[in-house]
Amino acid sequence: MAASESYPDELLYHSEHDWARIDGDEAVLGVTWFAQDALGELVHYEPPDVGSTVSKDASYGEVESVKAVSDLISPLSGEVLAVNQKVVDAPETVNEDPYGDGWLIRIRMSSPGERDQLLSVDEYRKVLENA
């Protein structure tokens, strides 16, 4: 079952509909409820390799629905520590739980100061109002 619309307060957001949950020098990344709703049921997740680097505002992978392919835009730069294998095996997990079981990668941040450029939940909601 698809999740109902929500945007947790404790996350930081990127205007390309990605979120980051920062914990020390690590961050977990995923896509927002809006992104998964726009795509529809996900059927494929093309993750980056563990150990590769991701750059803020650049694509680190792809998710696909039946009809569409979407780049995953990284809100932060860093090294990929882990990929969520559950989403590789069952991409619809993102639709069911975009902020929990549907996380996509965990990184070690290389430029922790980048977090200051991300959006709070209120700022992100304004992006959605204008979408």
Binding site: E41, H44, E46, E64, V66, K67
Partner: protein
């Protein structure tokens, strides 16, 4: 800024929460609940598609048969009144202007149902070739067209079985309908034509019978699982009908536009052929992706029933046999698949 056309059912789609998208100049529902549940509803039970965007042309007159025999690839003389035929509007090089269904309404009157994106081109094509004693008219605005498809579609509509590619007049919930035993899903079903102003009543009656509303998204995945080509993707004016795998719809013993070229291609064999394939590695093929070693993907998706990437591609004829491996360039990554026989999805008995 282009104004999109709307079918008579537009308000009903919006009320059902459909996601509306531009398609071939029309504002059409791509999905209601979701492509995958709609797809599965058609495979398991019954779904209804608003396909009123498709074009309808009437060809009438004592020379209507001659005009159609000279412009369409299949043999018009095989059509009795009450029968329909899949046929191609071909160009001089044997390419496909459109693939259409031709219905014989009565002795000298035929109906062509054309793809929405090609309806104007087909009208112009036939108008330019009109003969004395044949009249071609665009009647698209007069009719709505609803496709009801799925193993329980007839039962839900209260219709008896009939031979595929036949039609008869009928009545459903007080609405006079032309019941066509045709479809684009590989399932049993009908396509119902009615007067445009009665489409709402017909649609409501069909939904009341438990038929699931389905959008163009599911229509595309359903047709691809059974390898029905889509004009503009898999077939078009630049690929001849033999390479497109539609030689069976070309009566090469009749005279029609491009027949000489098609006879030559048939004799020599086409350079490339359209083949269906399934991915053996995790990836979804998409239109426009290159086949490594020569060739191009023309349609691709994730098959909701097979749960793997599937598609159709043109590949060199020498490498077009079922069982042959092919490699697709998926945005820079090489992913393997294998050519299969049509259809990719078959019902389990």
């Amino acid at each position: 800024m282009q104004t999109l056309r709307r079918t008579p059912l537009y308000d009903r789609h919006v009320a059902l929460g459909a996601r509306m998208v531009p398609f071939a100049g029309w504002e059409m529902p791509v999905q209601y609940e979701g492509v995958i549940p709609e797809h599965k509803a058609v495979r398991a039970d019954a779904g209804v598609f608003d396909v009123s965007h498709m074009g309808e042309l009437e060809v009438e007159g004592p020379t209507a048969r001659d005009l159609l025999q000279a412009t369409l690839s299949n043999d018009v003389d095989k059509l009795e009144p009450g029968v329909a035929q899949y046929t191609l509007v071909t160009n001089e090089s044997g390419g496909i202007v459109d693939d259409v269904i031709l219905y014989r309404l009565d002795g000298h009157r035929y109906l062509i149902v054309a793809n929405a994106s090609n309806a104007a081109a087909v009208l112009d094509w036939l108008k330019e070739r009109e003969l004395r004693g044949s009249d071609v008219r665009d009647v698209s605005d007069d009719y709505a067209l609803l496709a009801v498809q799925g193993p329980r579609s007839l039962e839900r509509l209260g219709l008896e079985r009939a031979k595929p590619f036949t039609w008869a007049m009928g009545e459903l919930h007080g609405v006079e309908v032309m019941v066509n035993r045709t479809g684009y899903t590989g399932e049993e079903g009908v396509e119902l034509a009615c007067m445009a102003d009665e489409a709402g009543v017909l649609w409501d009656a069909i939904l009341q019978r438990g038929v699931v509303p389905c959008g163009l998204g599911a229509r595309d995945t359903l047709r691809l699982e059974v390898c029905y080509p889509l004009h503009g993707n898999d077939i078009g004016p630049d690929r001849d009908a033999i390479a497109s795998g539609l030689g069976w719809a070309c009566a090469l013993d009749t005279e029609f536009t491009g027949v000489d070229r098609l006879r030559a291609v048939k004799a020599e064999g086409p350079e490339q052929r359209l083949v269906p394939f399934v991915m053996t590695e995790k990836a979804i093929p998409r239109q426009g992706m290159a086949v490594v070693g020569g060739g191009e993907v023309t349609s691709g998706t994730m098959s909701p029933m097979l749960e793997v990437g599937i598609g159709m591609a043109y590949v060199p004829s020498a490498a077009a046999k079922a069982g042959t491996e092919l490699v697709i360039d998926v945005r820079g990554k090489e992913r393997r698949g294998v050519i299969e026989k049509k259809p990719l999805y078959k019902k389990e008995h």
